[in-house]
């Protein structure tokens, strides 16, 4: 699987003498097994960008290529693409509507025209992937907790067997343990099933732990496309565009100022702990 945005732009008034751009000249590629996070201030173009990825929105300039083919060419099967590139919106639990968890998860496979057995087999497999026990099958989605509902919604997308999964702020409003549950699940999907993941997030602490690559958007443009460590070295620039680094990065810099020789690249609690113990000679 290879999903490429090639010089894509989006403008609300492309024919005006001075068009206003929501996204401007962004190029990036996502491949199977990638675990990337997309970060950026409110209004930086993140949502526009992810809508290009499964063909919900057509860029006013540039191309979106899936395995080398332009998805906005005439006759390109967009419906199939949307099964392969699954998009989980913000607060996806608001989109649950069926009487039971199993029926809700079957909705996608059903629209793909699969037999009832196949639908249920896929739904059960998806439930297993997100860690929902069999006993949930017949429950109403509405009697579940916030985190559980969100798992059902993610399972609904997984049941279509996507090769790429895009999640828009999947942890907003969840408690810390719920955040770790969901992100751990997504991480395992990427590691074990090879599904490419793009995570939109406002939590620098979370992306530092889970993502291998960061896309940073600034006013519609792609400012950085690099590893989290390399991106968080620019923590001062990140602050200027409404973002930050994880608190750990700030601790590392404060320690270095006082002459502690810890690595400035430490960005998780575990990494900085090792660094401090090393410096203290423990």
């Amino acid at each position: 699987m290879e999903l490429t945005l090639k010089n894509v732009s989006y403008s609300y008034n492309p024919d005006a003498p001075e068009p206003v751009y929501a996204v401007r000249d962004v190029s990036l590629t996502i491949r199977s097994g990638d675990f990337a996070a997309l970060i950026g201030h409110t209004g930086s173009g993140k949502s526009t960008l992810i809508q290009f990825m499964n063909g919900l929105l057509k860029p006013t300039e540039g191309q979106v290529l899936f395995n080398g083919e332009d998805i906005f060419e005439k006759k390109y099967p967009l419906k199939t693409l949307r099964q392969k590139v699954g998009l989980v919106f913000q607060y996806p639990e608001h989109q649950l509507f069926e009487e039971t968890v199993l029926k809700d998860i079957c909705f996608g496979p059903k629209n793909m025209g699969l037999s009832k057995e196949e639908q249920e087999e896929r739904a059960r497999h998806a439930m297993k992937l997100v860690g929902l026990a069999e006993s949930y099958e017949d429950k109403s989605p509405f009697e579940l907790s916030g985190g559980e509902k969100r798992r059902v919604a993610i399972a609904g997308v997984l049941a279509m067997k996507p090769e790429c999964l895009i999640l828009d702020e999947p942890t907003a409003g969840l408690d810390p343990a719920g955040r770790d549950d969901i992100l751990g699940t997504v991480r395992a999907l990427s590691d074990e099933e090879g599904i490419a993941v793009v995570l939109v997030s406002h939590s620098m602490e979370d992306v530092a732990v889970y993502a291998e690559r960061l896309f940073v958007m600034k006013k519609g443009e792609l400012l950085y496309d690099d590893t989290p460590k390399a991106v968080f070295r620019h923590y001062k620039e990140l602050e200027q565009i409404g973002l930050s680094a994880p608190q750990v990065t700030y601790i590392a810099h404060a320690l270095r100022e006082k002459g502690f020789d810890v690595s400035e690249d430490a960005m998780t609690v575990a990494e900085l702990k090792q660094e401090i113990l090393r410096v203290l000679g423990k």
Binding site: H41, E239, S244, V248
Partner: protein, 289 residues
């Protein structure tokens, strides 16, 4: 003086099956007793479904007790005949800024609350101007709210509360949908209102760092209060917090992890400055040993 008095509060709701037969009674709040002092800044933590939001909704009478009593500024929420007057004392700010903005121009949005309370026009103008000033949004007075960032929209929502002159502001995860800078803007704004004007703040959040500067942190689990203390006291109890599906700020977690490895650090470190200072002490003493 206590602005909020909650005594043995119980909140139950009933669950029904498809035939509308009652199948279960769920107790969302289970004998909660709590006083909040006027002018204090209180943060409530707790996992999804622990009862935090239900508790906040009782304070301004959006919900009424199944059992027990809630007093806001001395008025019993069950017995009051002036519900609207009572609610004026405690404004509420919710998670999603887009659901709280109703007008096409910032100043009209801020004026909506006091206008409904029947505030005369001349006074209304003053209140709107003053409220926008206090949240640092005066320059946006004539703008359209939908061009603002999430943090700015939440500050407009707070200004709308301020224009009603509340004694207390209840905030239910006001930063959940904001980027890091938007989050900081909102939290700094409410701290300023608390310090400079003595408005009581009750902040519900899932971001532990936002609790660090509160006067008091309360943790809920299963509809009960399970911890209540200063941020330092509460965040010293790392393991208990984890059992309640909570965590601690990264700096506190790091300090706790280092302590477990034998580094001589006090419990409940809350700021980067404290940790750096303590580690300098450790370094000095290890030079001499």
């Amino acid at each position: 003086m206590n602005i909020i008095e909650i005594l043995h509060l119980i909140h139950e709701f009933k669950e029904y099956d498809e035939n509308e037969t009652e199948i279960d009674t769920v107790r969302a709040l289970d004998d909660v007793t709590l006083s909040i002092e006027e002018g204090s800044f209180v943060t409530i933590l707790g996992h999804n479904g622990s009862g935090k939001s239900t508790l906040a909704k009782h304070v301004n009478a959006l919900l009424l007790p199944t059992g027990g009593t809630v007093l806001l500024c001395g008025e019993d929420t069950l017995k009051t005949k002036e519900l609207w007057q009572l609610r004026k004392n405690a404004g509420m700010v919710f998670q999603n800024p887009d659901n709280q903005i109703i007008a096409g121009i910032v100043e009209e949005d801020v004026a909506f609350g006091p206008e409904n309370l029947g505030v005369p026009t001349a006074e209304l103008e003053k209140r709107v101007e003053n409220a926008l000033e206090r949240v640092g949004m005066a320059a946006f007075r004539m703008n359209s709210p939908n061009r603002l960032s999430g943090g700015q929209k939440q500050r407009i929502a707070i200004a709308g509360m301020l224009a009603m002159k509340p004694k207390c502001i209840l905030m239910d995860e006001p930063t959940a949908m904001l980027d890091p800078v938007g989050r900081r803007e909102v939290i700094e704004t409410v701290h300023e209102l608390n310090r400079q004007e003595g408005i009581t703040i009750v902040l519900i959040t899932h971001y532990m760092e936002e609790a660090v500067d509160a006067d008091r942190v309360i943790v809920m689990d299963g509809g009960k209060l399970v911890m209540d203390g200063t941020p330092r006291e509460v965040f010293s109890r790392v393991e208990e917090l984890r059992e309640c599906r909570m965590t601690v700020p990264q700096v506190t977690e790091l300090s706790w992890e280092l302590k477990k490895e034998g580094v001589d650090l006090p419990d409940g470190i809350l700021t980067i400055g404290e940790l750096v200072e303590e580690l300098e002490k450790v370094r000095r003493s290890s030079v001499w040993n």
